[in-house]
């Protein structure tokens, strides 16, 4: 596998992952450019093509935290209860992105890795330096929060209607 093939296949999702880490388009671009540069430098030493995707996502993550000037966090620090519900003015297509923007990065990041990167909970746990169980909990809470934010009424009805 050539490095260019990897970039072609995963470049868009690496950018999107960086965007959800940074919540900023320009910073996401900078992170991906620097990450790809580092990945290219280490590509010759990569022996197992099967791990190439995870390796590149990990480099993006490390590069993001390196550029922020601190180590990647390992634990949740923000309570989902602190998130305010969005105003009722967004249209459906915008609501999900708005809701995702309001999620703390520690919840949005595993979602991005799972949905965009296609990684399993075990793989995400390894990348984030946590346990599989903790990753599943984060993913579950993230989806619960999004459902509350995107469709607060139906989520409340469901919660009240079933136990």
């Amino acid at each position: 596998m050539r490095f260019e093939d990897l970039v072609r296949r995963h470049g868009a999702d690496l950018y999107r992952y960086a965007f959800w880490l940074a919540r900023d388009r320009q910073q996401a671009e900078d992170v991906v450019q620097e990450a790809l540069l580092r990945a290219w430098g280490g590509f010759a030493r990569l022996r197992d093509p099967a791990v190439a995707k995870g390796w590149m996502f990990s480099i993006v993550r490390n590069e993001f935290y390196r550029m922020k000037g601190r180590a990647a966090p390992l634990a949740d620090v923000v309570s989902l209860d602190e998130i305010a519900a969005p105003r009722d003015e967004g249209m459906a297509a915008l609501e999900m992105r708005d809701a995702l923007m309001s999620l703390p990065a520690s919840y949005a990041e595993p979602l991005a890795l799972q949905v965009l990167g296609g990684f399993t909970c075990a793989e995400i746990a390894a990348m984030l330096g946590t346990t599989e169980g903790a990753t599943m909990t984060r993913l579950t809470r993230a989806r619960q929060a999004l459902k509350r934010l995107v469709a607060p009424e139906s989520a409340a009805e469901r919660k009240g209607g079933r136990s």
Binding site: R9, E29, L36, R97, V115, R143
Partner: protein, 220 residues
């Protein structure tokens, strides 16, 4: 497996196991939940898949002049391919109209989250360029707010018309020598001049954009 286990695993987002499938087959409530969840997951993917900006490829191309020439040349080629030819789209589209589309793709949600102007303030801000009453004759105004755009303060208007959502970028200080158009990533834009300033119109259908442009021009 009970309902609680099924729902917990569903929300964790891992693929459905045989055990989960067996539970769903005999539990109508969980089967209904799974159907709703499938729709939610489609929306979640859509939300996470933020557009890759066309300028990104150009930035990589600029980087070719640097000491990282060899890598960036390879990456630029790869990303142009991954971006569905968006670099070519940059060349075909008028720049201001394309910038309007990029605003909708990248900045609109943030702009809405920043909050809307009170109605009277919006009316005063738009009065000299595109009166709020004129816009309201074309569709239902869902949001008006100031936003930095094209080196000036523009007014971001979200309009609901019978065919769907249309975004306006009212630019009081941007005159226009000629009409501009662009189509990119499934969105269409037209920028037309007004008595004073100009307005960019962005929507998912070209004919709706043209129709709104015609209606706005007729009312100014």
């Amino acid at each position: 497996m009970n309902c609680l286990d099924y729902r917990r695993l569903l929300l964790a987002g891992e693929g459905e196991s045989r055990e989960m499938q067996a539970h769903r087959a005999q539990c109508s409530a969980c089967a209904q939940l799974a159907r709703e969840h499938e729709q939610f997951e489609a929306g979640l993917r859509q939300g996470l898949e933020v557009p890759v900006p066309p300028a990104f490829e150009a930035a990589l191309s600029d980087g070719m002049r640097s000491r990282r020439r060899r890598f960036l040349a390879a990456a630029a080629v790869a990303l142009v391919a991954a971006g569905g030819g968006s670099f070519l789209a940059l060349r075909r589209n008028d720049p201001l109209a394309l910038a309007c589309i990029q605003f909708v793709m990248m900045e609109e949600a943030k702009s809405i989250m920043m909050g809307a102007m009170p109605r009277e303030e919006a009316r005063a801000a738009l009065a000299g360029t595109l009166p709020l009453e004129s816009i309201e004759r074309v569709g239902q105004v869902r949001h008006v707010g100031p936003c930095p755009f094209n080196g000036q303060t523009a007014y971001h208007v979200v309009l609901a018309v019978p065919q769907g959502k249309v975004t306006l970028l009212v630019m009081p200080d941007s005159g226009l020598a000629s009409r501009q158009t662009a189509s990119y990533e499934g969105l269409h834009a037209a920028v037309i001049s007004l008595g004073r300033g100009s307005v960019g119109i962005v929507g998912a259908e070209g004919r709706v954009v043209e129709s709104v442009a015609g209606a706005l021009r007729a009312r100014t």
